[in-house]
């Protein structure tokens, strides 16, 4: 019969239309600003810098090694290394970023900076409502805007942050054990000098 296919298709549409009243599963949209779907944990939007402790400037994990700057595909990261050093979480003397800018209008959220960072200092944020009427300054985030606490990181990526913390704690324990061993060792001058030389190596 001519028109049978059309009727069959219309039956399908009617089923979907009526179904959306009965089953919540068929109702697939939400009204965005008022209603929100549950955030997905793995989501990545733009990078941010993690800091430990209450002080953002003192606690920044970044040591300005500039690996992310080099590896960033669209080259949206700009880092200026400090002249002096400050102690990091483990207590080593490290450089810190005197300037750390990310141009989020250039960033393509690829996560390569996170992958190459050896210090777990840069991570991906989930904040996406960043619109601004300032095209240039408003989208160029400096290190103060980028710095976010480790607690915030735990809040947005709980599983990943727990893994990172475990890894950092392990490293810290190792460094402490090494320092202790170096201090406890009587006076073999050559091995004792080694742990002290380590921080310099890590910066390159």
């Amino acid at each position: 019969m001519l028109g049978e296919g059309i009727l069959k298709g219309l039956a399908e549409t009617a089923k979907n239309f009526a179904g959306s009243f009965v089953s919540a599963e068929r109702l697939t949209t939400v009204e965005y600003p008022e209603q929100r779907i549950a955030p997905i944990e793995a989501t990545r939007v733009f990078p941010f810098l993690v800091y430990d402790g209450p002080e953002w400037e003192a606690g920044l994990r970044c040591v300005a090694c500039q690996i992310c700057e080099k590896e960033c595909p669209p080259k949206c990261i700009y880092i200026e290394k400090s002249k002096d050093k400050k102690p990091d979480a483990v207590g080593k003397q490290q450089f810190y970023p005197a300037k750390f800018d990310i141009d989020v209008s250039v960033c393509m959220s690829c996560q390569i900076c996170v992958e190459v960072c050896p210090f777990e200092a840069i991570k991906m944020d989930t904040e996406f409502e960043l619109s601004t009427d300032d095209r240039f300054g408003g989208l160029l985030h400096d290190r103060k805007q980028l710095a976010k606490s480790n607690e915030y990181y735990h809040h947005i990526h709980p599983t990943e942050a727990a893994e990172v913390d475990a890894r950092l704690a392990e490293e810290k324990a190792k460094a402490e054990a090494k320092a202790k061993a170096a201090a406890a060792a009587p006076k073999p001058a050559v091995p004792a000098a080694k742990p002290a030389a380590k921080p310099v190596e890590g910066e390159a």
Binding site: K8, A42, E71, M108, I112
Partner: protein
Amino acid sequence: MTDSLVNASAVDKKLKGWNRPPIIEPDGEAELLEVAMGPHHPSTHGVFRMDVALDGERVVRLKPVFGYLHRNHEKIAEGNSYLASMPYTDRLDYICSLTNNWAYALAVEKLVGQAVPERAEYLRVILGELTRVQNHASAIGFLIQEMGASGTPLMYAFREREKILDLFESLTGSRMMCNYMRFGGCRVDASPAWLDAARKVVAGLPGFVDEFEALLRSNEILMARTQGVGILRPDLAINAGVTGPMLRASGVNYDIRKVDRYGIYDRFEFRVPLGDHGDVFDRFMIRLLEARESIKILEQALKEIPDGPVMDGKAKIRGFRPKAGEAYGRIEAPKGELGFYLISDGGPNPYRYRVRPPSLVNLTILEDMCLGQNVADVVLIFGSVDIVLGEVDR
């Protein structure tokens, strides 16, 4: 190649009268009308122009104009490290970023002789086939929308695509720009919860394809609009280098998953659907059938996926310098053969980086399909090629 794939004389007999030359009998009264369709025509899936010469309603000449979305992809990649090109490949065919990742990873792995762990291969197959299902669903949705059924079928396709994109996001972190595969494996492992979620989505897919088929396949309007329209002869398709669903809709049995058996495709049982006429309707049906076959592969892969690492421990992320040499890696992307050709001179960035995009090559025979057709059907034929302009212009 022609002889091995199709018997030329038999095809000639069967296809006698196909692709009739356009009937242009200048009667001295009317002039040809030249129309520029695009670059901002809603049917062009982006920015693309077709310069059409019309005799009344019929197409006499058609010139595709590419390049509005050119982003210098290949040259950028030649200045970047090998890893840094991976996120750029997401932006080629932005509907199926994971298959782009896969093709590029395959080319680099060939270049350096890198092995991939078993679990990573399974994950690649799962993600690649999910990509194929959602690409075909949205391709059909767009095709039907261009026919005038604005909304309903496309929204049904997108409803299903959304579930697959949610899977992508919970695994890779991004819905479309996944940047997931690495040389020697995949970036992160899939949790058991993710695999369960994937099984749940895959279990719902056959129902969706059934629904889509009931909605569209026997629709008389769709048949009238698509059958016998935009016919592509198999010999022309082969000569033009057309690949993917377009080629198979013309009846040529050529699927790189079967020909190359790259990755672990030799372990799965699936068939390659073939068309009989090479018209728009066949291309539409091929995509539906291929989605069904993809679901079959997905079910097998999700059942058999082994435990283990997803990244080869010896694979390097930074300071990646392949030895001098060249490699061509290709896969069956949802749109056709996607290949990456790389030449290394031993440096940290490729000496030459070339993409063989299925969309661009499939688009080159647009004029041959459109000659003699109505101007309204040009939109339809163009839609049935299934292109993404990010890949055409690169």
